[in-house]
Amino acid sequence: MSVAEISLKNVSKTFSPGLFKKKVEAVRDLTLEVGKGEVYGLIGPNGAGKSTTIRVLLGLIRPTGGEILFRGEPPRHGEFQKEIGYLPENPYLYDYLTLEELLQFCGRVSGVGGEERRKRIDELSGKLQLTEALRRPLRTYSKGMLQRAGICFALLHDPAIVILDEPMSGLDPMGRKLVFDLVLELKEQGKTIFFCSHILSDVERLCDRMGVLVRGRLARTFGKSDFAAGCEAAVHLLLPPVEERLRPALEGLQGELVSVPDGLLLSFPAERLPEIAGALTRLGIGIRGTRSSRVSLEELFIETVGESS
């Protein structure tokens, strides 16, 4: 059995805000493993402890209890940092430096040689469409550009493990696609990726395994295969708003009927599709379109959070 790249065993973190203030249990008894080449997504509502988990993992804060292992051993400072690349949520970079200077610094402290450093800077800035802005001070960058610059900073030394905290935050659709493609490329290269996100569609498409963190506890873990099995069985049809008199007939179809902003969403097992399609035709209700399984992930997420709250 191969050793996990990252293991968190019964990790807890309690913050003491000060005298006369209640202690905050940010992470409670968290156990998870991320295997080599695996993409693990940690999802959870705001304040669930996702970023704290990452900071504990990076050694920025000390866990109150539990153990963190890197390839089966406690992480050794220096060696561990050489193997990881980290992007914090909304990174704040040095205002008066240019991206090139920042990346040169990153390469130097990570022990990347001069020629290799130059090559990586050109390659990454090209991929993230920052070549034109390489020699501009970072204070002139937009929020999305700073996010992409932060990704360059995280990946410059070609780490084996990439830790991303809300990598899509502040990105426009084009920026999101760029980052999405980059993460897919990293996945293809066999990198281990651990990331937190609120954007469930990204988590669903990128991750091999997902964990739902609620109030510091890992409430649920599901693999892509578990999730896919659940999704294959479901079809989601988007219907137009219907008259009240037709509602009982629709509800009688034994599917799950929910209101959505542009009409109704009818979910039912895939094998019932011909029967339901026939019934809708008889009722004179047209089908506007279908929804992907994304809705189901949202439902799973909301259900898990609801159960754990």
């Binding site: 913050f15 704290t52 900071r55 990076l58 050694g59 920025l60 804060i61 000390r62 400072h77 220096g78 060696e79 940092q81 050489k82 990881i84 690349g85 980290y86 914090p88 990174p91 704040y92 970079l93 040095y94 205002d95 008066y96 430096l97 200077e101 920042l102 040169q104 610094f105 990153c106 130097r108 402290v109 990570s110 022990g111 001070p137 932060g150 900073f153 995280a154 030394h157 830790i163």
Partner: protein
Amino acid sequence: MNRVWALSVITYKEGIRNRSLFGILAFALFVLGLNISVAGFFMREVGKVTVDMNLSALTFSGLLLVFFVALHLMAKDIDKKTIQLVFSKPLSRGEYILGKYLGILFFVVVSLLALAVFSIATVSLVRGLYPNYFAGFSWPIFFTAGCFVLVQLAVLCAILILFSTVTTSSFASLIFTVCVYLVGVTIEDVLFYIQSGFRTEAISPVVQEVVKVVSYILPNFSMWDFKLEAAHGLAIGAERIGLGLGYAAVYIVVLLALATLFFQRREFN
């Protein structure tokens, strides 16, 4: 050492490009210009006033550089959480402290050297206009006093680094550093007053002891103040220079070691 150097280079660049620097340099140039225009009012004292005003302008500008630019070079890293990015790289906390200190020091030295050029020009000009009143003036003493302005600032930067490692806000670091500086420049006079027979009112023994303890803990900035000697052209002995440099070096090493110790225990959430 390569990592320390890399961090000090970016710290220096971040400082030297800060726009506040231009304001501080403009202020210093204004004071130096004022010196030229009002020099004639002082007649026989023109030499002393010129030297004193130049060294004071350098000191005050240096203080502004430390309090308003250098402060942010470290405190902003912590406030804005940039430090989390930096510590995700193979850089130890001790290396970070040393790199930041050296970067801040380079920044202060380069900024002050630029001002020193204007200061030398000012003194030369006033000396050329009133050669009779610069009889006791000596360039080596002036330069020595100028170098000790840098030594004062080097110690102050180390104090700033120490407070940045223990406080959670840059404003608190600023207040503590300013307080230590104010106590440091006056402690010798206060101690002298307490121990002398000139005082008219009784001072409680507790206060006297507290002042004595404080004088041992906090740096005595008057050890590095040679304005008086430079203004009057009084020679500065090698032993005073050696003692001053040694005192500063010991202080800086102790302060940075303490800063590293505190920083290693600090959490960055």
